[in-house]
Subunit: 320 residues, 6 copies
């Protein structure tokens, strides 16, 4: 078996460090309390029941606790479940860090920051460069750690920065092929388009939406920050309006959360490459464990389609 | 005939002061230039052709010029047109003001400001009151003069303030009938919801959308200003998020331009009374010249419906 | 704990009078029959299982029976359930009336009738007044007891009359603010718009749709009754057509069940205030038990939105 | 050239009896009044201008007047127009009847009535038979003359009865092939489904919608008449509800004007064969003058499609 | 009780031959494996659990095995389940054929083939006749056995041929009533329209979609086969294009899977009678066990509607 | 003025070679025939009237004739028109080729063929390579000359090949950035996806849809050719199904003309880069003559949006 909880099947014995992602107290039909735990590692997550708990257990085995678990994976009514035989909280002697137990982007934070700074350096328009640099500076730490979403795609630690890096590389290729596109405006838009997520989402572990995120949304949050930063930096050229427009319109249309549709060439391009990276990423995630000749599960955010891996695609290209 | 260009019919002689709303130079089939003028007064507008013009005419009869016109209204291919027999620019001796020639709200600016200030005074939550007062102060002059739109409803001078006053009166009735509603938040939302139009629209005469208005929109403009003003006033309670949410969601859903749907009770109420005032106003405009027993023209913004005035509605209530 | 089943939590002991809303016989995996009961009082309802029943129990504990129950509320797979320790049918000595165990409008039937009659009195157009009065007379008893729906809003005893009273008060405010509106036609429309529900719904307890209600619908039912009543009263002015139109169009458009969209000013207003009262009521219901700083459950009929009660709304306005 | 105005082309000389369908007075750019006439015969219609008219002409050449015209068809800006050289009102000596100048169903009224009465005779359920017979009796004359619509299909004299006869024949075939269908209910539904059009439409010539038709619609009109007639005949079986349901649901769904979707087998069948006859008829109309190997004009009511007549369809089946 | 598993109720004893439609191995909470079986006969299917299985049982009781079962039907959480007391594989001595245990069309394969061949004989256009005959020949066996779908309608053995026969009879009636329709093209289209299903579906038992069926679809499969067959038969008249068009457009529009909407008269008719036969069949299936005065279950493919059988429909027409 | 009819303004004198794209005979109000000509060169087209024509003119100045025209551009009712002072047919002495007078791709046909052949060479899967090579071979000449559409984008000579070359370059970049993508399948899909247009469209000049193109469409045409070619080449691996699927699904969904949505990774990528190239191209076309600080016309195929060129985009990147 490949390492990691995602690869476990019914019958797999477990002897793992895992993170309690959520712990919910319930009452069994015999009136005794028990905990339903969602346990995860870098590869995925699994449900487990902790029966016959006492009050101390409730306190010990709470959200975001790292634990060591022994047990076995079983098939319970068609879904996999971890049957716990022993569980204990991790101690300093275990030398386990929380980053080891949650899914994280495949690139290091520092490397991603270096790439992004190079692209900022390539922005020749001084207004756009200063706005972009200043906003990234302001949120640097959160930006490098934040997921890009709570589900669907890039829903893991540093997913936001990873999504931006992928889009920047794509943007560079496209600017080379279609030279009418304004590289400066596009790069600035790519780097800032989802930055509002550092306030919309609650952080890297057990990510939820903040009240502000739910009521205002990352699009309006960052649009307002651009206005504010421009004022601080005494920038008032049309670059401010254009950059706000790119951010506001990057979901493409009203039904998808953008108060304006793209009306600048680079706004349309930003929307297209954002979609492109998201859709490819969701397909890759859906197909990663699928054998040639098989269909994936339905992917909700891709119009509920299933994807087929043709039988002739047996090349190394399938291996991540 | 009632006074005003709106009431003219084919055959009506014209001897009026009118405002040139737009003037467009064209070339006739005999190769001679002519001007197509849209001429208006407080009641409406009409098209006219000015034939055989010279270069001086082009300069004289340009957009936003007040003129005195003699001529006759004719039916040209099913539409009314003003056939000009003489036209001259207005001079100081005519004692005509531009306000006399454009449609204006039925209330005076000062009276509307007084009403709005009373409602601001009734906002007991200090954060909401200070935010509202400060933003109105900042844009007071433009707010009192701006139309609420370029067409559909309240598309006249001071239309924005008039729309706000009508909605405040409606809000007050509704708070009395449904006491769970938070009066403070609702009043603040009503007063600020369309304030971004002072930057979205170009002003009271020959109103168009500014570049910023087209690319950002009044909703995002004012949402950003609320954030900025809150920072200036050192307000950081949840009132700021709530008020931004009311403004962002007041169009009701994405298809209608709101990046968020209403998720606070007062946000839903704001959306409903905004719609209510707009729809009643559009119906009243459509029916104002309709006889009992007749249908109005189709109203585009009311799902292209025509409205019928029942034959038994012969009471003074029909007269504006 | 506030009184009433709606306020019970896991662990709450129960010693209550309750109404059996539905009783369904099922077979357990040990082949023994049991009953699944939905038990309710004025505040809400809860599921319970009655194990090991005999034939007499089946007869005794049927739909619409009042019972006294002792037991405890438990959490069963994430939903609350009442675990019955004893249950008996109510006797005359208990002095419990069915009205005490079902949700009822907050106003008395007689008071609501008085209000409605005053509004009928205010209808000056004799044709509209006679039609309205006659139809209310014909269905008076059922009208005062009927719920306005089986779910969503005003889905309780006398909910229909309560909805009409709320709308009349709203209509009165609006007529004052927008005097072009024909008060007579609007009041008549408000009073009659949902009257077909007395034939569409099965009554106040365990409300379901009748066959006629399902196949014809309350809108067409009352439109036909207006035609019929007009004939009986020898009224044939355009008031009959107008009133039928108000009733037919009050859902706003075809997708929502109206064969015609509003094409008379008062028809549009009727639709808007019907929506207004329904939406406010659903939000109030959703928020009634929500603490400041929390979100409600999703409200199906409000586009599945959740509603947030801002943390600063700690005033008495939150208490019903 | 085939006979009739529909077959005229640019250059065709005209020496015809025609009906003035509409006459509209307009003012030419030389200030002189003229009439725009829509002139028709049994095959179609054409526009004409009557220049230099006096007051008597206005009175003489009004709507629904039969005239004799000489002139020539011309191409004016891409559309055909009749250039009048002489025009006079028809006199008794011309021996022309209005029926000769308007499009009429291809069957005689008496023959259609005979067919319909046979089908009524075949309804064995006495309640359904009596309801159907009584309603047809009540509106017999108007029913036999009314068009089925103002445009799209069966928009000619006696079009309503012709549409019903076609549908009855189709219904008979279908009942034979699918014997589960209740012939009685289906026949009754077919005969009555559009009967409300006798009050919705203004009659056979220059057909428009009545006020009642616009505000109530033929569907609700006949549903109410069924209720009323049942009361007169003392019928209160479920046949009344079922028949009302068939009529109410025959447009299929809300967006198409039905307040209820079909929920009885025969209601669905009625909807399907109504659609079937309408769609075939519209296609036949569109293709009647099309040569093999050519496309028709776009047909608005058939989703704006054009229809192609294959080159191999050169058989007599193409000739009406 | 009527014979057949569809008619069983809780408490019904079972002593039947049944077909294992699917067998799924699962692990119980006591770690022991068990099988969930879906068992069917000609009338319907039911779930059963086979507890405490050994490895031989797994092999014996696999998909598409015929078994004899004794046991009893129980109500398990609101759904019927078969509680097995004994189960054994069928042997030659049982004289049971698989056709006896799966739902099959009510007509014999040979009879249906004879009907279809008669209709082919009636196609006078030689190109259309040869194309149709050749394609039916090529797939004769599969065509006569295939279901028309995996669910919704005609989802049983020989369902495809049965659907075609019903549609041909309907087509014949319609050609008689509307003689403009080209009988040859319509018959050819009816016979071939769904023939691609012989490659789209996996066969008559436990029908699923093939990979080719999922990725290409029966519409494009048969369109390509028509092109190919025409080439083999050296036919290149417009009949080939027209016939491909009928097949490609028979679902009516893009959202329903047709790359082209009908643009030939016979294409529209094919679409309409395909819909007609499908909708009538689904309604008949939904109503077959419904008592007069009752509603059916919701029918997914008929816009989730329930259907009502009127109380007065007590005639033999209700009995299949 | 830049060279070419697209750059002419009212008043521009014309002394040009032009191609008659369409010539339509009409009758003026003075009964004399005239021709409406659409005249074009490599940059665009303009309308002209040729008055007072004789029968020889009709024959001379027909569709697809090259002419030399002298005259002047005028503004006629807001649209530009060419006022002809002299016109004559081109003779051999003019040394003008039709390619000089129609818009053509910016790359040479031979160069594009070379690029495409290199990409075919890079397809390592032999089945995919042979299918692609064979189909391009079969249609080589038409493929290199065909436009990609009649309007919207790449609607010029060799537009199809140019679109394919742009997409191949984009595909290459994307395969580098997302190595999970199967390069072979993607390249084959890009090259073949629109090849059916060589039969769907009538050729490079005055392009219209063929009957086959209208009734079958380029998607189904090429899907059938892939099946046929595979049979000829004795290829029956899953590559055939996969390649057909890519072609069938490349419009993304049913509403846009694809009978299947993408269900293979490379199918989704093909759809995305097809859209990408089309949308960028349409935006570039819309913005090519727009000054910084101005909006373009509305672009129909881009959801009727107008595009803004920011005032700060004054760099050489704007110049084609």
């Amino acid at each position: 078996m490949k390492k990691g909880i995602q690869h476990a099947r019914a019958g797999t014995p477990i002897d793992h460090y895992l993170l309690i992602k959520t712990a919910t107290k319930q009452i069994a039909s015999n009136h005794k309390p028990f905990l339903t735990l969602i346990l995860g590692d870098q590869t995925g997550e699994i449900e487990a029941k902790l029966w016959g708990i006492n009050e101390k257990d409730e306190t010990t085995f709470c959200n975001k606790t790292m634990v060591h678990v022994r047990g076995e994976v079983i098939d319970y009514r068609g879904r996999l479940q971890l049957k716990i035989s022993s569980i204990r909280q991790v101690t300093a002697d275990d030398h386990v860090k929380i980053e080891d137990l949650i899914r994280t982007a495949p690139l290091q934070k520092d490397d991603m920051l270096a790439v992004i700074n190079e692209f900022i350096f390539d922005i020749r328009n001084p207004n756009l460069q200063r706005l972009t640099r200043s906003l990234i500076k302001k949120h640097e730490q959160a930006f490098l750690e934040s997921p890009a979403a709570t589900r669907n795609h890039h829903e893991f630690m540093s997913g936001l920065a990873y999504h931006v890096v992928s889009m920047l590389n794509l943007a560079k290729s496209i600017v080379n092929l279609y030279p009418d596109i304004d590289q400066d405006l596009l790069y600035a838009g790519v780097i800032l388009h989802d930055l509002g997520k550092v306030r919309e989402l609650s952080g890297a572990i057990d990510t939820t939406y903040t009240v502000e995120g739910t009521l205002i949304g990352h699009i309006s949050i960052i649009a307002a920050e651009i206005a504010e930063t421009a004022k601080e930096l005494h920038i008032d050229g049309e670059e401010v309006v254009a950059l706000q427009h790119l951010v506001l319109s990057h979901h493409g249309k009203g039904e998808w959360g953008s108060p304006k549709s793209p009306m600048i060439r680079e706004a349309e391009v930003l929307h297209l490459i954002d979609q492109f990276d998201a859709r490819i990423t969701m397909m890759n995630d859906a197909l990663v464990n699928i054998e040639p000749g098989q269909f994936s599960e339905r992917v909700m955010a891709l119009e509920q389609r299933r994807f087929y891996k043709p039988a002739f695609q047996k090349t190394p290209a399938d291996i991540l």
